[in-house]
Symmetry: C2
Subunit: 303 residues, 2 copies
């Protein structure tokens, strides 16, 4: 077996962690959104790929981001110098980003830089940056364009959202390793991340929708709408901007032409649905949802 | 009064600290060598100006470099990623360098970036980067050229030295604030730093020797040779490369045409000498040496 999970932040990362339990490290490839990447503090910070990696390695801190037990000495040092620290980053997290930027400056590709650093961290499974090429998500709100991290942190992700763009996506290409993994996959799962700003940048890469549609494997999405609500992040405002209702039905509409089925805790019309509980509150529920999702995909494949 | 101290690393920094006690923060300007500067870890690290600043602010750690009580979480994080950490830097020190590089990248000049950050650290007196322009000292040993920090750390400063060059110095200019301070000074003191690789880059700036020779103030050097020995660093190997003996006499020869007198604990021929103890082992001896040096300079001025 070989399962590819497309992931943004927390929802996708949790599902990937469950899938790791189900299929094992040799059979899991996570394709992570790099549209949130930001260069700051002399570091290349990759929030989504790193979040997935920290989840896979059981290194995620209980605060929900960053490395477990990390310290914040450099941020304290910056504050002491009068810097307004809007983007908080732990010391070991910063070391990761500093070393990544050094590698990129030396000419190493983003996929290889991520992969080697994840190896050093002992991350099981493969986490692939979606593209070697830079893509930078921007959100328009309150009359101005915000780089995504600034929107999420500085503006706390508050809508209404007036625009979304993925700078660089037009000329970016899916990484070769990503296309290869999609071609070889037994199942492809779109994790329960924000369809517009987390999965959106992956799907916006030229050739990506075609690669997914043309893959031999079934493609299933897991809805991020749980009990009619969004667990985390500005998904509701994003769906509103996209002209879709914030429901599994709306999510299915965003993914139309890409997915063969959807996993949700509510009914969806017009495509195969696995209706099941989708809240991932602990290891058992993460594993359970991953297991059910994979079985659903396999069932779709055998039809 | 207004005293200008030219300084490299530890020796110059200690004397500057003593001079601060003697003349007070309003009357002290330290011109610091930036030939040791290095870009590393996404930071602009300025070893000599920072060492002086940390000494002036009583923030120097007892290990002899870096900020008192600083932690090393990021370096630990880099090592955990397999990085060979040849240049050790504390977390708050790193924050300083990260913020400095950010300012430089945004277009702020080196002198202003230093000055504002020193202000934030609460450093008394003024520490001026010698030039707005980059100068990078390289030392040749064992058949290859070493950037200075790599020579000092990777090679532990071991000679014999086969060459010294100050990349960029030909086109660098002394900072306007430096020339102004020299013009306004009552006394100019060359601190007991390495004459070749610490003070050398300052004197190599086009117009600097002329500015010192043409200043109304007397220029006196404090010999770094104490009890016939060098307290710290590769001064002996540097003097040998320069074809000078490692003595106050040799130091006077290196500074010929620039200084009006020398402070040393041994006899020197051919120019006015203040022979006195020059070991600065504590606050009292630093203040004493600074006080005597200033009195000597004043006596030279009144001749």
């Amino acid at each position: 077996v070989s399962v590819v999970v497309l992931a943004g932040g927390t929802g996708g990362a949790r599902l990937a962690r469950g899938m790791l339990d189900v299929v094992g490290p040799q059979n899991l490839v996570v394709v992570a959104n790099t549209g949130d990447d930001v260069e700051i503090y002399g570091a290349h910070v990759s929030p989504d790929p790193d979040l997935v990696a920290f989840w896979l390695a059981d290194l995620i801190d209980e605060r929900g981001w960053g490395l477990e037990g990390d310290t914040f000495m450099v941020m304290d040092g910056l504050r002491a110098l009068g810097v307004e620290v809007w983007f908080n980053l732990g010391d070991r997290d910063l070391a990761l980003g500093i070393e990544r930027l050094r590698r990129l400056r030396e000419g190493q590709g983003l996929v290889a830089a991520h992969a080697e650093l994840m190896d050093r961290l002992g991350v099981p499974g493969r986490v692939l940056a979606m593209s070697e090429d830079p893509v930078r998500t921007h959100v328009r709100a309150a009359g101005r364009w915000w780089p995504l991290q600034e929107f999420l942190i500085g503006r706390r992700g508050e809508g209404p959202i007036e625009g979304v763009r993925f700078d660089g996506a037009d000329h970016a290409r899916p990484a070769a390793e990503v296309l290869e993994a999609i071609g070889d996959a037994e199942a492809i799962v779109i994790g329960p991340s924000n369809p517009i700003i987390s999965i959106g940048p992956i799907l916006a890469l030229p050739g990506m929708r075609e690669a997914l549609a043309g893959a031999g494997a079934p493609v299933v999405a897991v809805s991020p709408v749980v009990g009619g609500e969004i667990v985390k992040g500005p998904t509701a405002a994003c769906m509103q901007w996209a002209g879709q209702e914030c429901s599994a039905q709306g999510v299915a509409a965003v993914y139309e032409g890409v997915i063969d089925g959807i996993v949700a805790d509510e009914p969806v019309q017009g495509l195969p649905v696995l209706q099941t509980g989708t809240l991932m509150s602990d290891a058992a529920s993460r594993r359970m949802l991953a297991d059910e999702t994979l079985a659903f995909a396999r069932a779709l494949a055998s039809r």
